[in-house]
Subunit: 387 residues, 2 copies
């Protein structure tokens, strides 16, 4: 397999944009990414679009050519929509990476997009539930906050994780997002506010849950040995893996870790020839605060059961040992589902390039992104290195 | 790129199955395909699932791991859902082929599934409309029968195609489907019946329109040089291409041909080192009778504007010069959208193997499948050869 570079990134602000439709968001991110890569639409050989539930949110399906041809791609270029719940963007990236790494393609555009806020909240919750097992969990009325509340409660029981530990993750991510001009909720919160948040599914409050968002993000991939033809500001995909597990939470023996995250991390580290200690910062999939805690364990950043304390001890702050979610994470930056995976890559690369302004981390040569689908049924982990 | 073989096929009956859910249909087809290939689930390295609108039809999203892990695939194996409207199955096949041909993977499972009949007809029409441009066509109330009616009317105007020509396609496909035990509508019809069909969108009657169906189909791919490890009954993918075009019909200069079909055909022929005259039989995407007529032109089986007369002259009958849709086509066999592309591959291979019983064509060394998405925005053409 050839080594692959990310030669361009582009990202819209995440938020609730009443007057923007799905396609205009995607086009904005794609246009930025192509410009950043110094690539013309006509040069693109294939387009992969991550999108979770465009048809349910907007009525529009067949989204890959719907978006792709509107960007000015050459007629005929394969346009493929990828859906793997909240990991749709990450899986689109993995599939595109595989096509370039294997030599099948050279210059590939990867987009991710979701337009969620045009639906009322109960409908959004229903659509999101489709990422879980509707024949069991869904029928029983278990929404995603309910599923992750069970995970959080069990993690507290097993490892002594506290509400304060989870709240510390929310406080950190809000502090970071408040300084990110593209974040949806740019609001600093205190530990007291986080602890006093309106309950959603005990023990999770509104401050433990990620946002409902509109947004898009895109990247351009090329073989590493051609990267300099396009830009000097490329990044290298050192390792990447896509993994799976059962969709139903109740089929798991232990809900305090995700085997798909562990195996994706293991594969990505092996490909990179690196380990958790080599990772200098990370964007983790904090759909709920407990998910960030568990991901930091599953990826080996901290010991089993210690993910909550890792955050409350300040280890994952921007100036901590291993900064996590300097973008603000899904919690504060926003979580336009299909855009989240490619958005994380853009956020990691912003740090690798030293472009993160007052959120810039000190050590920024190697970063990691982790994108989770459902309650752990899909995971993509990517290890990136500055050029 | 390596040459790739199809080492196993599996297919459910297509129909309206009130007591079957999406996953049980997919599992039936996959189980058959793995058995046919003498492959254990644990040997599969990746799973690609074509599905158009499972979330809208059934509420269940995240379908690739939802189906894949239930088949007994190894935990961790990448499970990827592909959506490209009615070409979702064909695109899943193309993406899997690309992964094997490029050397990234060896043994790959490709499924296609749709469960449509649990929704009432108006809702089905609305969901299907999402494969077109909802911001224009959809807002104007143009359903797919309406779009293809415009195409048919223009084809009649330009080339003198008649209602009788289109009805002949319906009569032929019903005659074939009546002899296919897996077909949904096993009913011979006369030209008079077809012409007297209830109008749907003038000039198309109910006999010009494909069916609303439940069903699944699956294939197993392997590198050609490993095919004999699994079976002696493999088939070879000689050529394959995935192409795109704009989703909106009104953006096309000429609606009497599909540029995506022409370019997919051209690429697939080039890869195969073959031309239209080498194709001995074909499964074409007759979502409407006019679509079969146009596809037979776009793929070079007949001259421009002659697709209707090609059928009414008997050239595409089982005993004709180039038998088309010996399975009964989408018209009679059924059109469970996401399963149609992989289903066509199963149908072609059934002929290549000489297993088509009283529908068996005389010359069955090289066959072609053409899978169309929307009103021509996605196309996959595959040329297959008997081992």
């Amino acid at each position: 397999m050839r080594r692959v570079a990310v030669v361009g990134i582009g990202k819209t602000a995440f938020g609730a944009f009443a007057h923007r439709d799905l396609r205009s968001l995607a086009l904005e991110a794609i246009s930025q990414a192509l410009t950043d890569a110094n690539v013309l639409p006509a040069q693109v050989e294939a387009f992969y679009l991550g999108n979770f539930a465009g048809p349910s949110f907007t009525g529009q399906n067949h989204l890959a050519p719907y978006v792709g041809l509107a960007t000015g791609l050459t007629r005929g270029v394969p346009c493929t929509r990828i859906e793997d719940a909240c990991a749709s963007g990450g899986v689109a990236l993995f599939q595109a990476w595989q096509a370039v790494a294997s030599g099948a393609l050279d210059l590939v555009l990867v987009g991710g997009v979701e337009k969620m806020t045009s639906q009322p909240t109960p409908k959004v919750a229903e659509i999101l539930s489709g990422a879980g097992d509707m024949s069991g969990e869904g029928r029983a009325g278990a929404t995603f906050p309910a599923l992750f509340a069970m995970i959080a409660r069990r993690h507290m029981h097993e490892f002594g994780t506290t509400r304060e530990d989870l709240a510390a993750i929310a406080v950190k991510n809000h502090a970071n997002g408040a300084r990110n001009p593209l974040a949806q909720m740019r609001k600093v919160i205190t530990l007291e506010q986080a602890l006093a948040g309106k309950p959603v599914a005990d023990p999770l409050t509104v401050y433990d849950c990620s946002l409902v968002s509109d947004g898009a993000a895109a990247v351009v991939l090329a073989p590493l040995d051609r990267a300099r033809e396009f830009t000097s500001r490329f990044s290298v995909i050192r390792g990447i893996a896509q993994t799976s597990d059962g969709v139903a939470l109740d089929a798991k023996d232990d809900i305090t870790f995700f085997s798909a995250v562990r195996s994706a991390g293991k594969c990505a580290y092996e490909m990179a020839g690196l380990g958790p200690r080599d990772i200098q910062f990370a964007e983790l999939h904090d759909c709920f605060t407990i998910a960030e805690a568990i991901a930091s364990e599953d990826l080996g950043f901290t010991g089993r059961g210690e993910g909550g304390r890792f955050a409350s001890a300040g280890c994952s702050a921007i100036n901590g040992r291993l900064p996590i979610n300097t973008s603000g994470g899904l919690k504060s930056k926003g979580h336009p589902v299909g855009a989240t995976g490619t958005g994380q890559i853009c956020d990691v690369i912003q740090q690798l390039r030293g472009d993160a302004g007052d959120r810039q981390v000190a050590r920024h040569r190697i970063g990691l992104a982790q994108n989770l689908g459902g309650s752990g049924a899909t995971c993509v982990v990517t290890v990136l290195e500055a050029a």
